[in-house]
Symmetry: C2
Subunit: 190 residues, 2 copies
DNA sequence: CTCGAAGTACTACTAATAGAAGTATTCGAC
DNA sequence: GTCGAATACTTCTATTAGTAGTACTTCGAG
């Protein structure tokens, strides 16, 4: 006989594993802290979940025994809750990392969709959208590089650094791709 | 005074525009047909929505007057509904393509996340996951190329072809990126 | 000629995600 | 010193996405 909780074991959404993964890299964090980590690191390769989602996942993770929490009152009025990964949590995460099927990459590329609909668009507008995308990608690339600089000397961070390097290449090719697209869209209108 | 419908104008989720976009490329389609299009073309750059979502969007689009439908009974028992884009629908779509802000690319890269959690993983398993990702990407690349071959001669398809070319380059660099990642992860274990 | 698998068409239910709102605190400019 | 903006922390609600199910059909293998 399998309990309801058992049925859900290892069937967390990727977001849940991401939250647990953040916790596996740190000591003890509040939901808010997890969000900051997610924004600054995970977001480069996996969209950062909303705060409300993170709180929800933390509650679920606690129910499963993968994390424990304690109230950390700052003063009479404010009250935060700090979460910490447990050994079963670490074990479940390890199992997921090693054995879960690689589920397909989710890509929602707004610019590509707009170009796909180019028969309805203005040539110049399309080029303009692409240029904005270039700017945005350059910004992301800059952030990745900053992050890389900050973490590359710490030996304990070897895997995160490997991923950051991957991210750097990813955003660099995104840039190249968009520039080639711009060429395909025709030379500059002015 | 602004009606409820007006408020929602131009505030469709991207999926809604994608459905309308498919319809803008065709004459008259059932929800099921839209799904097939989405799976075979849109999916390369924008995750294909579930059927249930498509049916929902079609109903909403009809409420907004962006599409019209007619029942097309095939026999006594079966009954399908065919949708067609209207002029206001085409206009709204044109407006969205030209003027909506480019919203940020959504990327959920499962492999990158697993590598990020590499401190918990088995070196060999990680390489194995990466190799599976390579295989998957090769498959996708093959599909893109097939699709490209099928559509490249038709002049009317110039924008879709531009996007397919972009997709080809995208999956090619995804492949290169994963191979470099594999190198970073260390040479083959055997 | 029939049985199973794949294809067509659609709906109902459930899970995941985004967004808005609420409350308190600190920091910096005027 | 106070006003507004940014930061810390959390919950609630509404939307969006995904799963599973029904039901009937066509096609191909044996």
């Amino acid at each position: 006989m399998v309990s309801r909780v058992d049925e859900r074991r290892d069937r967390l959404p990727a977001t849940g594993w991401a939250v647990l993964g953040v916790l596996s890299h740190a000591e003890e964090l509040s939901g808010y802290d997890v969000k900051k980590w997610a924004d600054h690191v995970v977001a480069f390769f996996y969209v950062s979940p909303a705060l409300s989602q993170i709180y929800g996942e933390l509650r679920r993770l606690e129910e499963l025994g993968y994390v424990v929490s304690r109230a950390a009152p700052q003063d009479e009025l404010r009250n935060k809750r700090l979460y910490r990964i447990t050994e079963p949590g670490r074990e479940a995460l390890r199992h997921w990392v090693n054995h879960a099927p690689v589920d397909p990459t989710v890509l929602k590329h707004n610019l590509a969709m707009r170009v796909w609909l180019g028969h309805l668009a203005d040539q110049d507008r399309l080029r303009d959208l692409a240029e904005r995308h270039v700017a945005e990608t350059e910004r992301a690339l800059g952030e990745v590089r900053t992050s890389l600089l900050r973490s590359q000397d710490r030996p304990a961070w070897s895997y995160p650094v490997t991923v950051l390097r991957w991210c750097e290449r990813y955003y660099r090719s995104e840039l190249a791709l968009t520039r080639e697209l711009l060429t395909d869209l025709g030379e500059a209108p002015n």
